[in-house]
Structure formats: structure tokens, C-alpha cells
């Protein structure tokens, strides 16, 4: 079932931007030049590939920043650290981001590429754990709602990661919530 969800996430990562691109730019408006995000995240880690009996749940933080090149296109940096039963997982990602705004709402989609660093804490006579760093790519989407002029609430962010660590491939899903702070601005309100 979880593997089905991973497949769903992969499909969504490609279908949703196509949908967003097809929406006419009727509501373009002034947009922040930079966003900084920080919050809580949950990672459903594909631990079956390294010998766990099932996927494992990891909890932690998610931080990031995005810069707008145009009102809709920008670049996102995404960092996260998640921790759980004898293991931790970090993602260091960057990629293009597409944003669609309407009134106080913002939807975004991004593709990400970078590194995953996973560690399993198994105490051995000669070492305290096993760590592996490998390439990772994926994508996700999210929704922000403006709370104050400079602050938004990230109602949800969902990402899928395809990572290669420990000589195997993991398909992970991450969900995040948090707060977004805005700097600067780009563009202007367009009359309807």
C-alpha cells in the first residue's frame, strides 16, 4: 500500500505542474522575492530495502529558502533532518520551483535533486553505526496561506524522494508544515 502511495506521489509530481501551467495568468500579483521556511516534518523511510521488516517513521525538521526569478518561477533549496528508531535521514536538495498565487493562497511545485545521508545506529565492537551518502532526486508540492504581510503558514508540503544509499534504492515520502517568512517583492498587481 505504501509502495502504491510512492507511485502515486511520483505521478502527482509530474501531473500537478502540468495542470498549474495550463491555468491562465489572470491573477498575477506582487510576489515576495525571497521566502524562508522552517517547520516540522515527517518522513516515511523505505527501510525495507536495508533489512527492516517495514517502512519506518522518522520525525524532525524541514527548512528551506526560495528565490523568485519571475512571479511564477524560482529556485528552491530544501534541507531536512528526520530521526527515528535507530536511524536518521538528511536531505540536502535544490531545484526549480513553480508558484501560483491567488489572493492569500499560494500553491507551489518543485523538482529537487541533491544528496541523501542516511545513518543506522547499530553498536558494534569496532564502530557505532553505519552511514551512507548517495544521490537523491524527487519533487513535491505545497500550499501556503498568508497570515501577515510578511508571514505565511505552510499548511502542507509533500515530497517524494528517490535515493540511493547503502547500495540499494529507497522511495521515501515526506510531509512538512511550518512558517514562511517573506523578503522583498517582485512584479505588481495586474488589473482584471
Amino acid at each position: 500500500m505504501t509502495r502504491n502511495f510512492a507511485r502515486w506521489a511520483r505521478s502527482a509530481a509530474f501531473l500537478i505542474p502540468a495542470l498549474l501551467f495550463s491555468i491562465p495568468d489572470l491573477y498575477a500579483q506582487e510576489a515576495p522575492r525571497f521566502d524562508v521556511f522552517g517547520g516540522f516534518s515527517y518522513l516515511r523511510f523505505d527501510a525495507t530495502t536495508i533489512g527492516y521488516p517495514d517502512y519506518t517513521n522518522l520525525y524532525g525538521w524541514n527548512g528551506g529558502a526560495s528565490g523568485a526569478i519571475t512571479r511564477r518561477f524560482g529556485v528552491a533549496i530544501d534541507l531536512s533532518g528526520n530521526y527515528g528508531a535507530q536511524m536518521s535521514s538528511y536531505h540536502f536538495m535544490i531545484g526549480p520551483q513553480y508558484t501560483w498565487r491567488r489572493d492569500r493562497s499560494k500553491f507551489f511545485f518543485h523538482g529537487l535533486i541533491g544528496k541523501a545521508q542516511n545513518r543506522v545506529d547499530i553498536v558494534q565492537p569496532t564502530r557505532n553505526g553505519f552511514e551512507s551518502v548517495g544521490r537523491s532526486f524527487g519533487g513535491g508540492l505545497g500550499f501556503d496561506y498568508d497570515w501577515k504581510p510578511k508571514i505565511s503558514i505552510r499548511v502542507f508540503q509533500a515530497d517524494y524522494f528517490h535515493s540511493n544509499t547503502f547500495g540499494t534504492t529507497q522511495n521515501d515520502v515526506r510531509g512538512s508544515i511550518g512558517v514562511v517568512y517573506h523578503f522583498g517583492h517582485i512584479g505588481h498587481r495586474r488589473k482584471l
Binding site: 505504501t2 502511495f5 525495507t48 533489512g51 535507530q86
Partner: protein, 362 residues
Amino acid sequence: MLSKAIAAVIPLMLGALTACAPSTHTVYVTQPTNNNVAAYRINNHSGAFTTIVGSPYLSGNSPGPIVVDPAGKHAYVANRIDNTISLYRIDSLIGSLSEVMPRTTTASDAVAMVMNAAGNLLFVSNEVSSSVAVYSVNSGTGALSLVAGTPVSLPPNPVALAVTPSGKFLYVVNSNLGSVFAFSVASSGALQPVAGSPFASGAGAFALAIDPNDKFVYVANSTADTVSILSIASNGALIQVSGSPFATGTGPVSVALSTTGQFLYIANQSSNNISEYSIDSTTGFATEIIGSPLTAGTAPSLLVTDPDGTFIYVASQTSKTITPYTILSGTAATTTSGAGGLTTTAQSVTIDSAAGGIAVGK
């Protein structure tokens, strides 16, 4: 509108993420040439192997027999050249191994080990020093302590041993004599020879197994190419059942039973196949199953039954593989075998060196 969409998506996501855990168990394989222990997680349905993170784990010199305690908390590996036993703590979540130092010293060349069903006694057969030692097991730490009065000396070449599920009797196969030595086991682990011991088996007696009901002992006679079936008397004495010994393939070296004791499997190392038998639970008479013997790679040398009774694992010395075979259930005959027959359903896993021992965990 938006809130409705979110309300619809979130339950779907949560439902997907909280699906039931798949049914799995672990298998541990000692690799004498590489001085380590490989660990795998097995999917109970497909039989597929996944290497557990960190595997293989270091052991002593030339690890051979391996035993996992009934609780699945500890594993014991006999290092045949070091003359030691390594104790490993098994991680309850991952199934990984962490060795607990120091190692326990044994007599020379621990060639076989077995633990009683209660998990409080470990029996070790020392081939070169020709003895059997008994260790009591600390229920918390898994640490071993030699039981007073052991090791017990035996004639040269005690190569295999097995303890009855009740824990009352210990049987040790002597290859040179082609016989089985029987001992009654005290609650302390002290051994007392059974009257009439040793009991004749067959030339080149090499491996044995005991049925789950304490009724029969099965001995593979590697030179005679037979399996001896001996019934267990109330005092532990052994008596050949009618028709015993039964013919096997060439070079029978390992014996395994289904968890019910209804089916018997013999690895024939020289004829590269597995003999499969149905056992009469009253008389012990063995009837070869349709499709037996089953071709099984090259030089099958070790057979182990998984606790769920779903698979038999076969280690091949020449191809350095472990292959899971599914035990067919029901009564209807299939294209190759009837109930109790074996069939391959999953790919073999290749190991780094010929297996010295296999044990199944939780």
C-alpha cells in the same frame, strides 16, 4: 473548496502510510572463509532475501555452526579455529547482530551446536577433542557458563548433535563408529549416558534431526547412502523402526523436518538433490514423495526449516548460494510433487563463501 480538497486528500495519505507490516523473518549464515556472519531478512510470502544493513558482521576465525535462541534475542557462533563461541545480541527491530565480548572458550573444533527449546542450555560437539560440552545460558545477557561435569569425552569424530524438543535427551552422532550416543539431560545440563548407548545407525553417520513430538531420530548415513529412523523409548534408548534404514541419494549430509514432523528432507551432496519423504507418525515408516528426489543445485550441504514451516533453506557448498524452497501444503498433487514436496519460488542469494552454518531468527 480548498479546505474540502485538503480534507479529502489527507485521509487518503494517512491510510496509505499506515498499511499493515509485511510478514518477515531473519536468516543468518556463517561464512568460514571470510570470518563473518551474513544476515538477511526474508519475506514470508515471496521468500525474497534483503541484506540487513551492516551485514556481514565480524566473527572469530572460521565461524561454523550458528544457533539463534528461541526468543530471537541472541545468536551464538562457534569459531572453529579460534576454539571460541561468539555471542551476538540481535537487534529486535532491524535483526542486525552486535557481538558481545569477550568470547567463550571451547574445547578443540566446535563442529556442531544446538540449544534446547527452553533456551537455557547450549550443547556443543567438539570434533577434534572428541567431547560434548554443555553451557548454561544467562536468560538476560545470553552469557554462557560451562556446566559442571562437562565436557564429556566421546570416541573420535562426534560430528553432529540434537536435543529432543522436551529437552530430556541429547543425541550425538559419531561418524567413525556409525552410531548415535544418547544422554539424558538433567535440568542443570548435566549429562548421563542412556543405558545401551551407543546405538547403531549406519556407515558415515553425519547428521541428525529429531521430530517435534519426541518420537523419532533421523540420521543421515553419508557413506551408506541411507537414512536411519530410530524411535525414542521412554528412557531415551533408540530402536530402528521397521524398514529402516531407507535409501537416499548419494552422500546424504544434512537432515531437516517440516515443523509438523510429517515430512523429512535429506540433502544428498554427491547426487546434487534432495530426497523427500512422508513419515507415518505412528510407525515412523518413510515413503518417498512423488517427484523425489528434487534436483537442488550443486553439492547441497545444509538444510534448515523456517519456524513457520513455509520454507526449507538449502545451502550449496559449490555454488555458494542459499536457496529457499517452499514446502507444498494440502493433499492435491502438483505437476512435480505432492504435499510436502519442495518447489523453488524465489531466487537464490549468493554468499561470499561456502556456508558454515545457517540459523533462522524472528
